[in-house]
């Protein structure tokens, strides 16, 4: 038996595999055994009720998908009263994902979801900050620091900051999230993208632009996870394009403490369980007793410093 447990952002997880926010809900329990997962992560909620974006809300592209679901939300009260209790039946810790358009509303929501049954709060700071011209909080270090400090003051639960891959300053944003009190980073949300249907000349998404996810994003997000691991002391949770256990192993090698699986679940409802089984098999075959032993064991002769242009020249 391989020991798959890991310490991650203030929690001890039975294994390092969990769903990505927005690609999971209690309905999946009809099909897979939730007690086998490392953690359960809910779809982002916002303080107010909202309907979400116009359809079409998804489109397929080579090696992945675009989504502009938006955040259809029934608001905090309904979530706390009706959704959180649905997860009481499962052993895996519950992580709730929240978002808001101003730091104060964000902190207020953080307070409201600090309730029994919730093990940690994932703060989706990849969403637009209305006080910064609609730029996502996690686009820049100072807005990241500011919102994280407010969130930190609002709860004693572990805070996981979900970063956006759309920033050009990922190491700095990661460091700011840590300085602001994050207990872990989730790297990352979707990459802003679009596609066009050339028969109709229309964008494929009703909202024109949306987020790219799936296998196509993995090399980019893996690089960002690697950069984050090198710039913070808190655990990094890798999230982007994980379809198989091999993909998860790549993230663990670069130093991620755990992984989230999103789009893959849309293709195979049991994808997360396959990743867990595959991780166990990988360790067993390599004669490794504890999965934590492989974390951050990338062997690299190159000292890559900040000279990115050298690497790509």
């Amino acid at each position: 038996m391989v020991d798959l447990s890991v310490d991650c952002g203030g929690l001890r997880l039975a294994n390092p595999v969990m769903p990505a926010s927005g690609t999971f809900s209690h309905e999946l329990a009809d099909i897979i055994d939730f007690d086998r997962l490392g953690a359960l992560v809910t779809k982002t909620i916002t303080p107010e009720r909202r309907l979400g974006n116009p359809t079409p809300r998804v489109a397929e592209v080579s090696g992945g998908m675009l989504n502009s679901i938006g955040i259809p939300s029934k608001g905090a009260a309904q979530f706390v009263a009706e959704v959180i209790p649905l997860y009481a039946a499962f052993t895996a810790p519950l992580i709730v994902s929240i978002s808001a358009n101003t730091p104060d509303e964000f902190a207020e929501l953080c307070r409201k979801v600090t309730v029994p049954g919730v093990a940690a709060i994932e703060v989706n700071i990849s969403c637009p900050n209305l006080e910064d011209d609609g730029r996502a909080f996690a686009m820049r270090p100072h807005t990241t620091l500011q919102v994280m400090q407010k969130l930190r003051a609002a709860t004693d639960l572990p805070l996981w900051a979900k970063l956006t891959p759309n920033t050009g300053e990922i190491p700095e944003v990661a460091a700011a999230a840590e300085a602001g009190g994050a207990d872990a980073l989730v790297v990352a949300n979707t990459i802003l993208a679009m596609s066009v249907d050339i028969r109709t000349r229309r964008p494929t998404l009703g909202k024109v632009m949306g987020g790219l996810s799936g296998p196509a994003v993995k090399p980019i997000v893996l690089r960002m996870a690697y950069q984050c691991v090198r710039s913070v002391g808190i655990p990094v949770i890798g999230c982007g394009g994980i379809m198989t256990a091999e993909d998860a192993v790549e993230y663990l090698f670069v130093g991620c403490q755990a992984v989230q699986v999103g789009t893959a679940t849309f293709l195979h409802a049991g994808a997360m369980l396959d990743v867990i089984d595959g991780l166990e098999a990988f360790c067993r075959d390599a004669g490794i007793e504890r999965v934590s032993e492989i974390i951050g064991t990338l062997s690299s002769s190159a000292e890559d410093g900040g000279m990115v242009w050298e690497a790509i020249a």
Binding site: M65, I69, T265, L267, H268
Partner: protein, 280 residues
């Protein structure tokens, strides 16, 4: 008063549990210029599907055709003894072209049965089924299902041309009275269809109306159902990703109380109360 409906299956959580399984293609042939019929051999539990439910098909990625998502496909024929399901599908995009390229003997992955199927009215009341285009595939299994529960069934099938009408003989064999209307013959106007519905109601004391595949037919059915206080259901389509209620990409607007709400076609549907659906 809308007559009490007996659900053909209960809503969550007692629904037939969906599973992922591999299905073997038994045959996959064109039925006309636009549609193909595929029959697959499936595990026993998959044949517990009820009319109106769908399966989420992972079409193989072949050559130039690289469908990424699964494709929802409503079940056209359910044959539990033979452990066989059939799908009648229009070959349009990447997914259905990849599906059309599959040959007998090949296998592919399916998830299902998913969604909420049709309900029948109480007292074995006669029903009428309205279908056009792809809606036909969804409606076809309702006929033997309703017949086996004692309902008299009239099917009104609508198409652009008589050539594109499908399943007329199968539906007759399944015990339906089949009426056909086409654009080419000028018989498919909604006014004509509405008159037919009124006439049928008068003659048979209809207990339910079911519609799929056309916005205009749905609106016609709604007008008739409202006027006659008739129980009705509509099966709707929407693009899907997860098929399980997780992603919220498949929502459509519905009337509820005095407002508009979004419901997921994959989860709260694909079959919905007729009068709550909104035009598209």
């Amino acid at each position: 008063m809308i007559e009490a409906a007996v659900p053909t299956q209960s809503a969550t959580p007692d629904r037939m549990p969906a599973t992922e399984f591999d299905a073997e293609v038994l045959c996959n042939d064109p039925v006309n210029e636009e549609y193909n019929l595929m029959a697959v051999s499936v595990p026993e539990r998959a044949t517990g599907a009820v009319p109106g439910q769908f399966f989420h098909l992972l079409c193989p990625q072949k050559d130039a055709l690289q469908p990424f998502f699964r494709r929802p496909m409503s079940v056209y024929r359910i044959e539990p003894e033979a452990r066989r399901l059939s799908f009648l599908y229009k070959v349009t995009g990447t997914g259905t072209r990849a599906m059309a390229a599959m040959k007998a003997g090949e296998t592919f992955n399916m998830l299902g049965p998913l969604g909420i199927g049709f309900s029948l009215p109480a007292d074995a009341a006669p029903i009428v089924v309205l279908a056009r285009g792809v809606g036909l595939a969804t409606m076809a299994p309702l006929i033997p299902f309703a017949r086996s529960r004692g309902h008299r069934v009239t099917a009104i099938l609508s198409a652009r041309t008589p050539d594109l009408l499908m399943s007329v003989d199968e539906m007759r064999r399944d015990g339906a009275d089949v009426l056909t209307v086409t654009d080419l013959q000028g018989t498919s106007d909604v006014e004509i269809v509405e008159d037919m519905l009124h006439m049928l109601y008068g003659k048979l004391r209809l207990g339910g109306v079911y519609v799929c595949g056309s916005n205009r037919l749905m609106l016609a059915a709604q007008r008739v159902a409202r006027r006659l206080d008739l129980f009705g259901e509509v099966a709707l389509e929407q693009q899907m990703a997860c098929g399980l209620g997780m992603c919220f990409c498949c929502v459509r607007p519905f009337r509820e109380d005095d407002g508009v709400v979004h419901r997921r076609v994959c989860r709260e549907g694909p079959v919905f109360p007729l009068l709550e659906a909104m035009q598209w």
